[in-house]
Amino acid sequence: MSLPDADHDLVAAELGREPTPAETALFENLWSEHCAYRSSRPLLSAFDSDGEQVVVGPGDDAAVVALPAIDGDRESDGARASDETYVTLGIESHNHPSYVDPFDGAATGVGGIVRDTLSMGAYPIALADSLYFGPFDREHSRYLFEGVVEGISHYGNCIGVPTVAGSVDFHEGYAGNPLVNVACVGLVTADRLVTAEAQGAGNKLVLVGNATGRDGLGGASFASEDLAEDAETEDRPAVQVGDPYAEKLLIEANEALLDEGLILAARDLGAAGLGGASSELVAKGGLGARIELDRVHQREPNMNAVEILLAESQERMCYEVRPGDVDRVAEIAERFDLGCSVVGEVTEGNYVCTFDGETVVDVPPEFLADGAPTNDLDAVEPGRPDRDLPDVDLAEAFEAVVGSPNAASKRWVYRQYDHEVGLRTAVPPGDDAAVMAVREAGGEGRGSGIGLAITSGSNPDWTSADPYEGARAVALENATNLAAKGATPLAAVDCLNGGNPEKPEVYGAFEAIVDGLADMCRSLETPVVGGNVSLYNDSASGPIPPTPTLAMVGTKAGYDAPPAALSGEGTLLLVGGAGGALGGSEYLAQVGGSDRFPTLPENPGEVVAALADAANQDATLAVHDVSRGGLAVTLAEMVTEAAGATVETEDAVALFDETPGRAVIETTDPDAVRERFDGIAPVVALGEATATGTLTIDVAGETLSYDAEAVADLRSVISRELE
């Protein structure tokens, strides 16, 4: 890839001369789809990112959100105390690198999003990964799946950040282009918060971390084109190699720098390397910079200006530092065995880079950062399927759905992730949402702190069947996950993955998922505070399904939450209205046929709030939401050797309908649940939990019965195949 002619002409006109080779490379990368969102920016205004809890919205390395006040721990005039605890949220994709080199591609995805957290002054407390691969029965999918999980495990475990949430989906559409979407949640107090906005001319720009090599050259532009058939061999140099040991040292150094108040502004080095980080940092502050590329600490000899400027070597941070603090910053870097170089300073002029005494870049920073024109692309609105349901054997369908890799237990995955380091994991993975203990919040002596619930995911079958309604369902499903553990949504970040936007039907579907996600988040009054767009996820086998991964956090008082597993002692209720259709369901994926997408509730915010309250009732023994595989899978996941269930449903549609905004509640006080949902959503009596460990479902007179061992066997397909 090179700088497109139209862009070249625009740049030449702005500069009044031909761009230098270094400038050409800089514009090529920073104006790429990956960095400049040229095709998606016109659509992203659909998102509502405001809210009184939002401290830093979209546009910085990560978003910052205030935790809700509990029992008046915020001043009555709404002022925020300097020790108030904020949550940071960030998400990014590492799709193309993970195809070419699954281990390193996924690992460096983790590294990047963690540094986005560090650059806000925050300490990372949790990771969530949403992963998408081709069909599980294919060897190449398994190779990518195993490599990606191992890469995340290796990197996340080493740096001591627990991986607590996420999702794994297998779908034909990802066979030639897997997706790796990584989210990080951090904590920062108000007085430690830093942003990527440069503060003043005369301050120094200091590069801390690994030495710069030639790895990851052109990663941003590599991420902005379709994957070629020979990408696994041809594009390997564009994939970075991670060093989690250096990242861990960077976490410690960043903390030490913050302890002493030495950081004025920070930006991590990601796409487009030093050129990207330093130019964006000064542009955000309305300032310029003068950078001497020769001063960058390097690990390879004879690197040229373009290589130093654009290499995406990992584990590096760019800090703005007062001139008098530079020596102390260098001492701290030295203490943690990290390289450190003062590469330049903030100015009031252009963004200027010199190399070997010559000026190689001299451009207006805001033109570089924000000057990329947007693409006006054609869109074809997606169609919607009609109902055509085949006749099937109920037991066969149940076993196919519960035993499908998509619905199966993901324990094989999260067992490889250290999900307990940090002593905050109150609800571990394997449940609807993880709950992390934020003991700092809620004020000293004011009770039990705040539980921060985390969920992330999408559903390619939903968004293939109906991109707009499917994306709305993805947002509601994430909110339902939080509510099932008694938390209410606080904020979300999205990772919007699509195919080649120059194809009108791809762009039309992408537009639909953006609108669907935005509309449902608005209905839920959940601000979308940041995100990432990844287009050109297209290969010889076609575009991926439009995939709007959403990572959402919610809060609750305390960290206790009802388990998903039955206790065996209560009545089972199904709360929430069924959409009465099977479009996009695992059932249709297994047995064939088509259907419209189920109708979603008109009052999703009320439903989510009611579910959160019901989950927190004293009489509630277990809660698990209905999603992939419908009620069949929900019930199968709730059964243990010690507790089973005997339930009734009216027909196969009711058993396999995946309408989100619903949950199964085991309670000893059904009336209290009915009362909370009165006027909001239907509550259906399903049956009773039992102490037998057997799941018995009566479907319009036909009985399905499986003991806990049979259910566990169906659900263990991933570990059975891979161990």
């Binding site: 191992e150 495990s153 290796h154 475990n157 080493c158 740096i159 001591g160 060093d243 989690p244 040991y245 861990k248 040292l249 410690e252 203490r335 943690f336 065995d337 999260y414 067992r415 490889q416 992730y417 250290d418 999900h419 307990e420 380091v421 940090g422 002593l423 905050r424 994991t425 109150a426 609800v427 571990p428 203990a437 003991r439 039990s448 702190g449 960290y559 161990e723």
Partner: protein, 228 residues
Amino acid sequence: MTVAVVQFGGSNCDRDAVRALSNLGIDARRVWHEDGLPADASGIVLPGGFSYGDYLRAGAMAARSPIMAEVREAAADGAPVLGVCNGAQIGCESGLTDGAFTTNRSARFQCEHATLRVENADTPWTRAYDEGEVISLPIAHGEGRFEIAPDRYERLEAEDRILFRYCDADGEVTEAANPNGSTGNVAGVLGERDTVAVLMPHPERATLPDLRAGTDGQGILSGFRVAD
């Protein structure tokens, strides 16, 4: 008087150890390895993590760092020393305890809960338990398989220096209950003195009452009370 939690580059359970000990009312603080042991150190934790990125071999580089000479000296003088997970690997590598921890039978990292049988309840680390008692602790390691030469294993047994073995919920030491293929299902051992112990499971992760992981690890960390 404070328990020094030694932080190497790549340690990642150092903050957790301080939090868990503090929760038990035991004064503890992190000590950066290059700064050496503080004069008032009354005990030492070698915490979990990936010291030096586990490059070369888990624990091997940290074991050769200058602070470990001080730790060995303190241990010889009777200071309580507890190595957890990567700290256990460092303990073995530096000769504080016998044996070695190597790659799990699964060849994968495993984060889950394990049940352990208390083999010797007459040590500072286990006096809160009864011999034969079954406790549940989190494990999180890729290299936790205990290996030792047969004659030295016999010596460990003869000297009652095996602290914990992986077992099932009923306390039976079975192959199925062995998460990583450890020799004799060994999860933790004592050094030459019973004031020195290493184990792969994480007692600090089963100490805070507000997490679901339980509080079975409190008794082990209470071993540092002796020194208070």
